[in-house]
């Protein structure tokens, strides 16, 4: 493909359009367009008036798109933006409506002017209204494409579903609900659908929003009393991508609004894709009617990647970097960071920057030191009540079964109390949950915690024990 810049490409497109369109149409509608920007997938064109944009989009976009494709050699999205030409500063006083240029109409003074109101009616050239994302003005991240997504057994189903949706929006699976823990690629897959659909012209109007943006815009709409505009904006989409839908939990008015938006889009056969960090029926405070709708189409889960996938992700990422790392380093990172792809990539970036700074691959101990906090964070996440029980039992050399037994000799009761105390301190679990894990009542746990807490103040040996167990559990910075 020839490397184009926006100006050169537009010149070529103009040649084609000139041959296609009537000279008058050409001079009136094509000659007023200025090429603005060209990137991998989009040619951005600027006009000076939102009305020109409307008229061009409604009437000449197919011609322009076709000519762009012809000139460029492959498909390219064409978008318009409004940019006033700043040739002269606006006249300080009201301009006389004398000489009217043939094409651009001069601003006209107000009708029945009042001393303080003259400015109100002068055409305000507004920058492209920021509040309303116009069709196609998606905030998609260019990096999130299907071909940069590493497929493995943990995500192959979700990936296949997304590809199917992208190839046939609103036909394959509608709505598509993707869930999984943070950093497993939900947003990546979702945006990849948006990119694919735009690039292949499957749906002209694509909107990607996070639930938070959705909420803010809804509140704005309520404040400025323009709920219709808000509705129109989302209900006019061909593909609506809503990220982190679980943020709707507990927001009743918004759920109501979203319910109607969902229905409007669904019944108009428009594709809806949502992501969440948990299955719809586990989102607390989400209305049942929404839950059932979310489960209507295809629900697909992203699971933490297995070792091979993690390694593939690292290799994939490394290919785009300048520095090459030995396979053993990649394997080390992949084997130690398991639950989330963001720290996985972060660890790689860190090692790469180390290598480019020191011009040497870090040895094993240095590597561990370099990635200490990431590895620890990983350990943090794995803490379960059972894990703590196990660590405590190991430390005090008692049996795991003693943790929940009814026996109460000092040698067993004391470690048990330490374990209860650590469970309370290191996890978010409630007293009853902890009690349950130990086969005791919550009062027992409460007693154990307060007892250990008070003893910690005087008992040097106990303090040492607790800190050591916490360290073994990956909590180096545990403070009593």
């Amino acid at each position: 493909m020839r490397p184009w810049d926006a100006g050169a490409l537009w010149d070529e497109v103009c040649k084609r359009l000139k041959a296609l369109l009537h000279p008058e149409v050409y001079s009136k509608w094509i000659a007023i367009i200025r090429p603005e920007r060209l990137d991998d997938r989009t040619l951005l064109l600027a006009v000076e008036d939102p009305f020109y944009q409307t008229w061009l989009e409604e009437n000449y976009l197919p011609f322009i798109r076709q000519s762009v494709q012809g000139a460029y050699g492959s498909e390219l999205a064409v978008r318009f933006t409004v940019k006033p030409i700043e040739k002269k500063s606006p006249p300080p006083s009201t301009p006389a409506s004398s000489s009217m240029p043939p094409v651009v109409q001069s601003p006209v003074p107000t009708l029945f002017p009042l001393p303080q109101t003259t400015s109100n009616l002068r055409p305000k050239i507004r920058p492209p209204v920021p509040a309303s994302p116009r069709p196609n003005s998606t905030s998609l991240n260019e990096q999130f494409q299907f071909d940069t997504f590493v497929v493995g057994p943990s995500n192959s189903f979700a990936h296949a579903a997304c590809v199917a949706v992208a190839q046939a929006p609103a036909k394959a699976y509608n709505p598509l609900f993707i869930y999984g823990h943070s950093g497993l690629g939900k947003t990546h897959l979702m945006q990849a659908i948006g990119h694919y659909v735009l690039a292949h012209g499957r749906a002209p109007r694509v909107c990607y929003v996070s639930s938070e943006t959705f909420i803010n815009e809804f509140i704005d709409a309520l404040q400025t009393n323009q709920p219709l505009e808000f509705r129109k904006r989302y209900r006019g989409m061909d593909l609506l991508l809503i990220d982190d839908i679980h943020f709707l939990a507990g927001k009743e008015r918004l759920q109501e609004e979203f319910f109607h938006t969902f229905n409007a889009l669904f019944h108009a056969h428009k594709q809806i894709v949502m992501t969440s960090d948990r299955p719809a029926n586990q989102i607390q405070g989400l209305e049942q009617r929404l839950v059932s709708r979310f489960e209507w189409g295809l629900v697909t889960e992203l699971q933490p990647p297995d070792f091979e996938t993690r390694l593939a992700i690292l290799r994939n990422k490394q290919e785009r970097a300048t520095v090459k790392l030995p396979e053993s380093v990649l394997e080390f990172i992949a084997s130690r960071i398991k639950s989330n792809i963001r720290p996985l990539e972060g660890a790689l970036t860190r090692v790469i920057s180390y290598v480019s700074l020191y011009r040497a691959v870090p040895p094993q101990n240095k590597l561990e030191e370099l990635l200490r906090d990431l590895l620890e964070e990983e350990a943090h996440q794995a803490l379960s009540l059972e894990g703590i029980q196990k660590a405590v039992a190991e430390y005090f050399d008692v049996r795991m079964a003693d943790m929940s037994s009814k026996r109460r000799p000092q040698a067993v009761a004391y470690p048990r109390q330490v374990a209860m105390y650590l469970c309370r301190r290191l996890t978010q679990s409630s007293f009853p949950e902890i009690a349950n894990a130990f086969g005791k009542t919550h009062a027992t746990v409460l007693h154990a915690c307060s007892r250990i807490e008070s003893r910690l103040e005087q008992d040097q040996a106990l303090r040492k024990d607790v800190v050591e167990i916490a360290r073994r559990l990956g909590r180096r910075e545990f403070a009593l």
Binding site: F51, V108, T117, S132
Partner: protein, 364 residues
């Protein structure tokens, strides 16, 4: 407050007002109409804060005063009453009893002080127009306004007062209707403004065949006054579309068409447009126009019209509704279609200072 009033006159006034009150439910008082007595009439006011309507109904005022009543129940009651006259009497608690013949109603109102004050439209200059003329201008253009709320500046009729001409324009991005009327415009009264479609439709209902209309404008408000009717409305803020850009300079071919014949033919043929494309094909050949449509599911339709035409054969696609709209609203027998080719804008004109730009659709 105590009044006696003709049922039919009250009902027709309320019918118009209830379209405005209650369209927004945020403030309960907005679903009420304000009733105020005057010498020998009452004033009824409804507002949704963007558009306000105030009209007078002749009445016999026994005891002056004011109150507010929920518009919808009041209208439903008045409509159902059988006697030609009715009596309204309100007490201090703002509940109003309605008596007509043997029927009695009591409905609860809200204090009139709570009713939002109408925006003041203070302006030194005003413009006076013939009601029928203005109404005709709105009728012939307003159907082309956009209903796409994302393009707010197109959701109304643009009025341009300039060079002793009032121009009314409406467009939705695919077609544009324009009517230009010569009127006298006071110095300093020139300008452009966009009147929202909802206000236009109230004007179309309220304006009569005779009498004059006074227009005043200040800041973002506009007031239309005619006789016993006052329409106050917010204006749509610009940017003002540069509509002249849309109008083609000249066309290669000008074809005279019988308006009613064309309208009837398009209406018939459009029965068989497919829902996907919703387009009809107009084929201009030597002295013959063929209007045709086909729908893969139903079948096809074709109708030929004799015309005077000697240019090259043209095969143009149009949205049938967009062809019929101006035909429905024009009074002339003959319209002229100016057309250049299959993809350039076509223009309908007639003997009035009217024009209608219509973009062809692409035929596959």
């Amino acid at each position: 407050m105590k009044i006696t009033i003709q049922r039919e006159q009250l009902a027709s006034a309320l019918q118009r007002l209830q379209g405005i009150s209650g369209s927004r439910s945020t403030l309960p008082i907005l679903s009420n109409v304000l009733i105020e007595t005057d010498k020998d009439k009452i004033w009824l006011t409804a507002t949704d804060l963007e558009l306000s309507l105030r009209c007078a109904v002749p009445a016999e005022v026994v005891k002056s005063g004011s109150t507010t009543l929920p518009a919808k129940p009041l209208f439903n009651i008045v409509r159902e009453l059988s006697e030609p006259q009715l009596e309204l009497e309100s007490d201090e608690q703002h509940s109003t009893s309605i008596t007509s013949g043997a029927a009695f109603f009591k409905i609860l109102g809200l204090p009139p002080e709570d009713f939002p004050a109408l925006p003041e439209v203070q302006s030194d200059v005003s413009l006076t127009l013939d009601q029928a003329v203005f109404r005709g201008m709105l009728e012939k253009t307003s159907y082309a306004a956009s209903t796409d709320e994302t393009r707010q500046f197109l959701n109304g009729v643009l009025l341009s007062f300039k060079d002793d001409k009032l121009t009314a324009v409406a467009t939705d991005g695919r077609r544009l209707a324009l009517f230009e009327q010569e009127i006298e415009i006071a110095k300093g009264a020139e300008g452009e403004l966009i009147v929202p479609s909802k206000t236009v439709s109230e004007l179309l209902h309220g304006l009569k065949e005779e009498g004059t209309l006074r227009i005043r404008q200040a800041k973002t408000q506009i007031a239309f006054e005619c006789g016993d009717l006052l329409v106050l409305s917010k204006l749509i803020e610009g940017p003002y579309p540069n509509f002249r850009q849309v109008i083609p300079a000249q066309a290669e071919n000008r074809i005279a068409l019988d308006r009613e014949v064309l309208l009837a033919a398009v209406r018939r043929v459009s029965l068989l447009t497919s829902t996907r494309t919703n387009s009809i094909r107009m084929t201009f050949a030597k002295n013959k126009l063929t209007v045709s449509a086909e729908s893969p599911d139903i079948g096809e339709a074709r109708e030929t019209l004799p015309i005077k035409y000697s240019g090259p054969t043209l095969n143009v696609g149009f949205n049938p509704d967009y062809v019929m709209d101006p035909m429905k609203h024009l009074p002339t027998d003959e319209v002229f279609l100016e057309i250049t080719d299959e993809i350039s804008p076509a223009v309908f004109k007639c003997d009035l200072p009217f024009l209608y730009v219509l973009m062809p659709m692409r035929l596959d």
